[in-house]
């Protein structure tokens, strides 16, 4: 099976969970004998891509001119007004970008193509997406493959173009939807691109039933087209099995994620204050960055718990593992979470989790401790109970190990491979 895959990021250069999921899935597929050409907007030298062919769209000289781009714009009506967007963009950041840049033209896109485009995430993202899709079409015309697989909205246009040029089947993979990022205030252009992708797709992979339901209800897509493929987690621990010695006696409760509306950091802070009113022998750590960071810092100080609540900023690499290994409990209070891989990562370090009911990952966790994200009292109660009850904590760790045995990228990859086979009529 030969796959032309379009992605937007790949470890170690990641801004969220998308790159990590792409790495895990492609590793699983590679082990099952799949050949993958993975196209990124830009290629650096350090990506972890020994198991597949990584291509940077910035290294591909597409022979396209203004006429092709104009033609593309005619077919894909959502591109009529082009504007700069990023995968994880807040409304405020979006407005400030709008003030800076004007609408781009087909000439701009072609011009940048000739200049060997950067493939960066900054600047004019929508122009980048269009150029990326042009490269997609070029690749589809020049390479041999059986199926096309596109991850999330930034690569959907490339997938659609590749399908048009090659006539090969298209799989669109939904990791996060505009409703997850922006709540009810969706960006219409992003929504339109997502929807165009779902409509053009021969099959859709959703990372959870939670996401599948949203695609059915909000995008009016035929349920028969959508298969749930849960994410998994890599069990590799570079730190080995040793627990990291904490420099303090208190138990540690961890939040790790973007500090944005979607992840519910404010509920974590409020719950921490309630917990500390009951028990001072607990500490809290918040790792990550985002637009709500200053507000969270000030609120924490206002609640007078700076001797028990620590901010880590954006953690990367080995520090991610260190903080998991130091923690006694992981909390993911997301307001909405299509999947949410972090509780599984915590399991790898034998750390039990409390997850919000509004998350996809809860679907695959054995004995998951679930709370509504807004129920701060309940969250505080569960934190106190799990940390205060050795038996319950041990039981949750055990359930975590069971979950990890079941949840493997090979299983997810097998599901995806089955979809490929159905679409290609059984090509090997």
């Amino acid at each position: 099976m030969r796959v032309l895959m379009f992605g937007w990021e790949f470890p170690p250069y990641i801004s969220g969970g998308l790159g990590t999921a792409c790495l895990g899935l492609t590793r699983g597929l590679a082990r099952l004998g799949t050949d993958i050409v993975f196209v990124l907007p830009r290629l650096d030298s350090k990506e972890e891509g020994g198991h597949l062919t990584l291509m940077g769209a910035n290294r591909i000289r597409a022979k396209v001119g203004i006429s092709e781009i104009l033609e593309l714009r005619e077919r894909v009506s959502v591109l009529e007004v082009l504007s700069p967007l990023r995968p994880y963009l807040t409304e405020k950041e979006y407005r400030s970008i709008l003030e800076r840049s004007e609408h781009i033209t087909a000439q701009d896109i072609a011009g940048e193509l000739n200049n060997d485009f950067t493939g960066g995430y900054g600047g004019n993202l929508m122009a980048e997406i269009v150029r990326y899709s042009v490269v997609g079409a070029h690749l589809a015309a020049s390479r041999e493959f059986d199926v096309i697989h596109a991850h999330d909205w930034m690569t959907v246009l490339a997938g659609i173009e590749a399908k048009r040029v090659s006539g090969k089947p298209l799989v669109v993979h939904a990791h996060a939807l505009e409703f997850d990022r922006s709540g009810e205030h969706v960006n219409q252009q992003v929504y339109d691109i997502e929807r165009a992708g779902f409509e053009a797709a021969d099959r859709i992979c959703a990372v959870s039933h939670f996401t599948r339901e949203t695609i059915i209800n909000r995008y009016s897509i035929d349920p028969a087209k959508i298969t749930v493929v849960h994410n998994a987690v890599s069990k590799k621990r570079r730190l080995g099995q040793m627990r990291i010695e904490k420099p303090f006696k208190e138990k540690l409760v961890l939040f790790l994620g973007r500090i944005t509306f979607q992840k519910g950091p404010d509920y974590f802070v409020e719950a921490a204050a309630k917990v500390l009113r009951q028990n001072r022998d607990i500490r809290f750590a918040m790792a990550g960055s985002g637009d709500m960071f200053p507000r969270m810092v000030e609120r924490m100080a206002e609640l007078r718990m700076a001797d028990r609540f620590h901010f880590l900023g954006f953690v990367r690499g080995m520090d991610v593992e260190r903080i998991y290994a130091m923690s006694d409990l992981y909390v993911m209070p997301s307001v909405t979470e299509p999947f949410g891989i972090t509780p599984l990562e915590a399991m790898v370090y034998d750390v039990p989790s409390i997850v919000s009911r509004q998350s996809g990952v809860a679907e695959i966790m054995e004995n998951a401790v679930k709370v509504d994200f807004w129920d701060v009292d309940r969250l505080a109660f569960e934190i106190l109970d799990i940390l205060g009850n050795e038996d319950r904590s041990a039981l949750l760790k055990l359930s975590g190990r069971h979950t990890l045995k079941r949840v493997q990228w090979e299983h997810s990859a097998q599901k995806v491979l089955d979809i490929y086979r159905q679409l290609t009529g059984g090509a090997s």
């Binding site: 420099p247 750590a285 200053p294 810092v297 000030e298």
Partner: protein, 399 residues
């Protein structure tokens, strides 16, 4: 005779290492950014302390005792002189030897201790007095609190400690229609005299000297001397209080600040009614004109002239509360190094960096702030303080 009193604040904080993270807590106790502290000290020594001290020494010699000035050198900056630039300390000693320079007492660590702990305040003031005596040969009799933070209670405490003169800000909301150009008696005090900063004339030099948008730019020595002379008949004293770093650091050499000061004594003395005195000397010669009642804290910082540069937002309040809450335990360890480290964390600058009021004083705050955001300042500070708290806890066997 109207004395003109120069008082220069000399201060550099021990800056914290912004790389000190949560993961360092319990593992490393190196909070200081040694490289930054050394580099900044060297830079400011070259741009300000050394050339300015040389100039002041020349002026004093030239005027044979008719040019007199005072310094408030914090304990924290003296420790850094010793460590990074001992020659600066020597040049201050040379100034002390002229007999024309007064050294002013304060809290050794340039702290907000008076607002949180009277005992710690007294300890730090005594510590600073001892150091001044050791280095410059005289116990201070004039006091100024950190950044001229002042109130009735503070004045009373300072009087009890034996000081004769105290310096404070001539803030409008304290003085109203009254003039800063007289001596005052702090409410509740019987011996202590207060000398108030003439903030218009002081800030004309300290802040506006190189401001080309200011209608009075450029400020020549003659023009400034004229403004000083205009006070003849309208006051007993002219108090020009400012950061010493004004000379050559806040106002760079190319603004002409050195030339300005070099010519100033002669220009001021050209008017027969004016002389230079140190604050202690002027205070001894003059009687208070009225009582000064300051029930709330004032300072020389920002437009508000209060303590909101250091305290008031939740990060500042929380950090300061937690720092002073450690007092008893830290002292109980009896560990000199630990106690000194704690006191370094009491330096007011750390709280200044956490300030979130970015209005008219935003520019000044930014200039002095090594952090990108007040939140980063708070987090770095709390990481260090939380580590210190753990060390103390361990030391006392409470872990």
């Amino acid at each position: 005779m109207i004395p003109v009193c120069f008082y220069f604040q000399v201060h550099q904080p021990m800056r914290l290492d912004q790389g000190y993270s949560f993961f360092d807590i319990g593992r490393s106790h190196r909070y200081r950014d040694e490289a930054a502290n050394r580099d900044i000290m060297r830079k400011v020594a070259d741009k300000c302390y050394l050339p300015a001290n040389r100039m002041m020494l020349d002026l004093i010699n030239e005027h044979r005792g008719d040019f007199r000035i005072s310094y408030a050198i914090t304990g924290v900056v003296m420790e850094q002189f010793q460590e990074f630039c001992p020659e600066v300390l020597d040049s201050f000693r040379a100034l002390a030897d002229t007999g024309c320079v007064e050294f002013i007492g304060e809290t050794h660590y340039h702290s907000l201790a008076f607002l949180f702990s009277r005992e710690e305040f007294r300890r730090q003031v005594k510590m600073h007095g001892r150091i001044l005596e050791e280095f410059f040969g005289a116990r201070p009799t004039t006091f100024r609190n950190t950044e001229l933070i002042y109130s009735n209670d503070l004045a009373l405490e300072v009087e009890k400690m034996g000081y004769k003169t105290i310096l404070c800000e001539g803030a409008d909301h304290v003085l109203g229609w009254r003039s800063p150009n007289y001596l005052y008696q702090p409410a509740g005090c019987t011996r202590l005299k207060a000398m108030l900063k003439n903030y218009r004339l002081s800030d004309d030099v300290a802040f506006r000297f190189s401001d080309r948008n200011w209608s009075e730019w450029p400020v020549t020595t003659d023009k400034f001397a004229r403004w000083v002379h205009a006070l003849a008949g309208n006051g007993d004293v002219v108090n020009l209080f400012m950061d010493y770093e004004t000379i050559g650091e806040h106002q760079w050499a190319d603004t002409g600040i050195f030339e300005f000061f070099r010519c100033l004594p002669k220009a001021v003395l050209a008017h027969g009614d004016f002389v230079f005195r140190t604050p202690g000397e002027a205070s001894a010669e003059l009687d208070p004109m009225a009582q000064l009642d300051v029930p709330y804290f004032t300072s020389w910082a920002d437009l508000e002239r209060d303590v909101t540069a250091w305290l008031g937002n939740p990060m500042q309040d929380q950090a300061a509360e937690l720092a002073y809450a450690l007092e008893d335990d830290v002292l109980a360890t009896g560990d000199d190094e630990l106690i000194a480290t704690w006191r370094e964390l009491l330096t007011s600058d750390h709280f200044y960096y956490m300030c979130t009021k970015w209005f008219s004083d935003g520019d000044v705050h930014k200039y002095f702030n090594p952090y990108d955001t007040p939140h980063q300042a708070f987090i770095t500070y709390m990481n260090a303080l939380n580590d210190l708290a753990l060390r103390v806890r361990r030391d006392l066997g409470k872990d």
